[in-house]
């Protein structure tokens, strides 16, 4: 009898495979949600809201997890059957399991005090998970809600594709704006719309119901209208109108910008500005129309290589550059500072991209060159140096010190390069790591204290002065950084498809064969180190001047790691990838400041995710990327094999 029952049970267990799949995915994503709860991330998410006073981000996140559990479960089950019953069974079960795990956690935390181990297992967490309901009724609610989300996850794939895309893009939009609410609100304030008047979009700590509708509408409308817009834009008339509008928008921005910049240095221009503006406007509009009229591809011949008429490229680039130039004025001082930091990391990233991405030399002490650039500038320009002996000899302007800083950094790159010429891979990484540490220790040492201040650092480093106006604020410095980034991108773009870039890449791929192809390894390795270091030194100099004071602690190993991470995340050897990486790794943490203490967790998780899902980076070096093809709004299609 006993044996028969066991056999029956085994049979049932074998036949209930959809339930087993559901169980598995429910446990995995439920585990993720438990982790989020116990690591305290949920509590932080709870402080943000998707819909003001109604739906907190934490709740939305948990719902999303249950949704994905259902979707994953149904995706695995669908490999074996198309019947709806097992699909929905698995999906609902997996969602419900997420809910079940969460309610178990709630029960546990409310009964047992585990705060010695899990700091975040607090009554606040319980309140958050129970949505304020009494525990007795919260448990079934959690399970049922989880199951419903799981079932929704299954149903999702049965919705019409267009609707799915529209809803997906709309929801992603919604979440993005809710997540970046601070940034968006600051932006609007900066455009003369105080927070009190933003009630249409925002309410409480989240979006207002109207805001939700508007954002959903924008996302969905964009998806719906895009094919029509594309088709219209490919007709001659549509293209002409589209390009004209784009070009004029760019021109308008350029003029606004010009005016504001002129006013900084020449306040008297205010009285003539209207005339100047009109004249410029008319002149450039004529020039633009001429350009369009003369552009042969516009008359129907699309260049095969670019698949876009030349004029569209020109217009896109022009608009982009102008928008970037306008950015600091749009976002205000605080976010300009963030942009400056991103820019500095882009500079360093582009430098390290040459060393690691192009030449394949893993350098973990990259911060050293940043430090050398910063300290050279500090030493040459600050009062400290003037005091001790060289009064009158140094105390240079930033502009004089900058090239010296770049050259010294490049020289340091060569000096580091010489001893490590024979090393590869891991060994190279270790030695360069040591080099980075040595430079920081030197900056901290008593030996050099009279010159560079030891632990007290260098203070009172002057700002760059342009004309008679020092570039004090982050908005002014933005332009300096922007131009530097443009220069460095230009150099990188020139080098990549050149004899030197090819030699670097060949070295990266196979050093022995590269040498047998006539490439002199020593000089090309040193060249890579020097160019990479020069870019970093360039960033260091601006950094010193921007902060006015530098300390050895500013040049820790963490910076090298950050720069390396942003290259990996963006895509090894990819120039746009560096920018994307910097936006993600430097920009995003600034926007999500509450998560500051989870920064490293975020880095780690992101790196693991990247290695598993997109080892080539977000913007791989070897893919033609066209604007609009890959929208952020495609949404997470979490179907893994």
């Amino acid at each position: 009898m006993q044996g028969q029952t066991l056999g029956d049970l085994r049979k049932i267990w074998q036949e209930a495979w959809p339930a087993r799949r559901g169980l598995r995915h429910g446990l995995v994503l439920g585990g993720v949600s438990l982790f989020l709860a116990l690591a305290g991330l949920l509590e932080i998410f709870a402080k943000r809201e998707v819909i003001g006073n109604t739906l907190s981000m934490a709740t939305a996140l948990l719902m999303l997890l249950a949704f994905f559990a259902g979707r994953q479960a149904s995706a695995t089950v669908r490999k074996e059957t198309d019947r709806l019953l097992p699909l929905f069974l698995a999906g609902t079960l997996s969602g419900a399991i997420v809910g079940l795990l969460l309610s178990l956690l709630t029960l546990l935390v409310s009964q047992v005090d585990m705060r010695d181990i899990f700091v975040y297992a607090t009554p606040t967490l319980v309140e958050l998970l129970t949505l304020g309901l009494p525990i007795g009724s919260a448990v079934p609610v959690l399970i049922v809600a989880g199951g419903a989300m799981g079932a929704l996850g299954v149903a999702w794939d049965y919705l019409p594709a267009l609707f799915r895309r529209m809803a997906g893009v709309g929801l992603v939009w919604l979440f993005l704006v809710a997540l970046l609410r601070e940034l968006v609100q600051d932006l609007l304030v900066n455009q003369g719309l105080p927070r009190a008047q933003q009630g249409l979009l925002f309410a409480g700590k989240g979006l207002s119901p109207w805001g939700v509708l508007i954002l959903l509408g924008i996302g969905a409308g964009w998806v719906y209208l895009r094919p029509y817009l594309r088709r219209w834009l490919s007709t001659p008339l549509g293209r002409l109108i589209g390009l004209s509008l784009e070009g004029w928008a760019a021109l308008y921005i350029a003029l606004v910008l010009l005016e504001r910049l002129v006013l900084i240095w020449w306040p008297a221009a205010a009285s003539v500005s209207l005339i100047v503006r009109l004249a410029l406007w008319a002149g450039t509009a004529v020039a633009w129309s001429l350009l369009l009229a003369l552009d042969a591809p516009l008359r129907g011949q699309v260049q095969e290589r670019f698949r876009q008429p030349r004029s569209a490229q020109v217009a896109n680039a022009f608009l982009l550059v102008n928008l970037l130039l306008l950015l600091p004025l749009l976002v205000g001082i605080r976010w300009s500072d963030v942009l400056d930091n991103i820019g500095l990391y882009v500079l360093m990233g582009l430098g390290l991209n040459i060393v690691v991405g192009f030449a394949g030399l893993l350098d973990l002490g990259y911060v050293a060159f940043f430090a050398i650039g910063a300290y050279t500038t500090g030493f040459l320009t600050s009062r400290l140096a003037q005091e001790f002996s060289l009064r009158g000899v140094i105390g240079w302007s930033f502009w004089a010190a900058w090239p010296v800083a770049i050259l010294l950094a490049a020289l340091a790159g060569v000096l580091l390069g010489i001893p490590v010429l024979r090393m590869r891979g891991d060994y190279l990484a270790i030695v360069t790591l040591g080099f980075g540490e040595i430079i920081q220790k030197l900056a901290n040492s008593d030996l050099l204290k009279p010159y560079i201040g030891g632990a007290q650092g260098i203070l009172e480093i002057p700002k760059p002065v342009l004309g008679n106006k020092p570039l004090v604020g982050s908005q002014e410095l933005y332009y300096l950084i922007f131009l530097s980034v443009l220069l460095v991108i230009y150099i990188s773009l020139r080098l990549a498809p050149s004899r030197i870039g090819r030699a670097w890449m060949a070295m990266r791929e196979d050093e022995d064969v590269a040498e047998a192809m006539g490439i002199h390894l020593v000089s090309y390795k040193l060249l890579a180190f020097a160019v990479g270091a020069a870019f970093s030194g360039m960033a260091g100099a601006i950094f010193a001047s921007k902060l006015s004071s530098i300390f050895p602690n500013s040049f820790s190993l963490l910076i090298s790691i950050n720069v390396l991470c942003l290259i990996i995340v963006g895509g090894m050897g990819s120039i746009p990838g560096v920018v994307v990486g910097a936006l993600i790794l430097v920009g995003l943490p600034e926007v999500l400041q509450e998560f500051a203490e989870y920064r490293l967790l975020f880095y780690g998780a992101l790196l693991v995710f990247m290695m598993l899902a997109r080892p080539e980076g977000f913007w791989p070096a070897r893919r033609r990327f066209r604007w609009g093809v890959e929208e952020a709004g495609q949404g997470p299609t979490g179907r893994t094999g």
Partner: protein, 256 residues
């Protein structure tokens, strides 16, 4: 006057003598094969010629220039190019880029001219590109120049390796088992390609090969190595009938 001349070349790895007092000549314009059982020291000798290894004894001269002690990149500049037994392309670079790397030492662009984008540079790049396309045409890879090298089928990778070697404008081309792993049709194509290399590019060709059909079909002369020692040298017919060669390949005939 021999184009490549090796005298008493000896290369040891620890106690193992991989190449032992090897004497060897190649006349300009010849196709010469080096054969022998596995581990006979053929590739080791290749590596000595191209500067990957430094022989302990003996001398190698190319067009009267001593090669021993020169680095691989110098030797390439002198006019020797090679392919590898296990294909060694630059896998994550495009087909075209692979060939362009081969032209490295023929180009003059430097950091300054590249950053400034001088007209000379543009002209040079254009010439290099044309030359690379011509070579790809020659080996039959035209139209695939934007493909990543790693995505090419096996036979095409072998041909790309030859195109890359040709790009450095060598006078002597070293081919290390060019037909390894190929099917009969690909082997025919490769033999044809090697003959055309001599006929149309005027190259001297030195190849390691296991396939007797290829060796006997295209070589002017054949040299046989066994345990690092040269055991025979001569025309294909002479080698085919040489008892020592047969012994090295098939073992001594046992009389039962």
């Amino acid at each position: 006057m021999a184009l490549l001349k090796a005298q008493g070349v000896t290369k040891r790895f620890g106690g193992l003598v991989a190449v032992n007092r090897f004497d060897f000549d190649i006349e300009e314009g010849a196709i010469v094969s080096l054969i022998g059982p596995n581990g006979a020291g053929k590739t080791t000798f290749f590596n000595c010629v191209t500067g990957f290894y430094r022989p302990e004894e003996g001398s190698i001269t190319f067009d009267s220039v001593p090669l021993v002690g020169l680095s691989p990149d110098r030797i390439t500049r002198l006019g020797i190019a090679r392919t590898y037994q296990n294909i060694r392309l630059f896998p994550k670079m495009t087909v075209l880029e692979n060939v362009l790397v081969g032209q490295h030492h023929l180009l003059k662009a430097n950091l300054l001219s590249i950053i400034l984008g001088t007209p000379d540079l543009a002209a040079e790049e254009e010439r290099a590109r044309k030359e690379a396309l011509r070579l790809l045409e020659f080996v039959g890879l035209r139209g695939q120049e934007e493909e990543l090298a790693q995505n090419l089928p096996y036979g095409a990778q072998r041909r790309l390796e030859i195109a890359r070697a040709l790009a450095s404008r060598p006078r002597l081309l070293l081919l290390d088992e060019p037909t390894a792993g190929m099917n009969p049709r690909e082997v025919e194509e490769m033999m044809d390609l090697i003959r055309r290399l001599r006929r149309e590019q005027g190259l001297t060709i030195f190849l390691i090969e296991h396939r007797m059909k290829v060796v006997m079909g295209i070589s002017d002369r054949v040299t046989v190595l066994d345990y690092g020692v040269k055991i025979a040298e001569g025309t294909p017919e002479e080698i085919q009938n040489n008892p020592r060669v047969i012994e090295a390949y098939l073992g001594r005939r046992r009389v039962a």
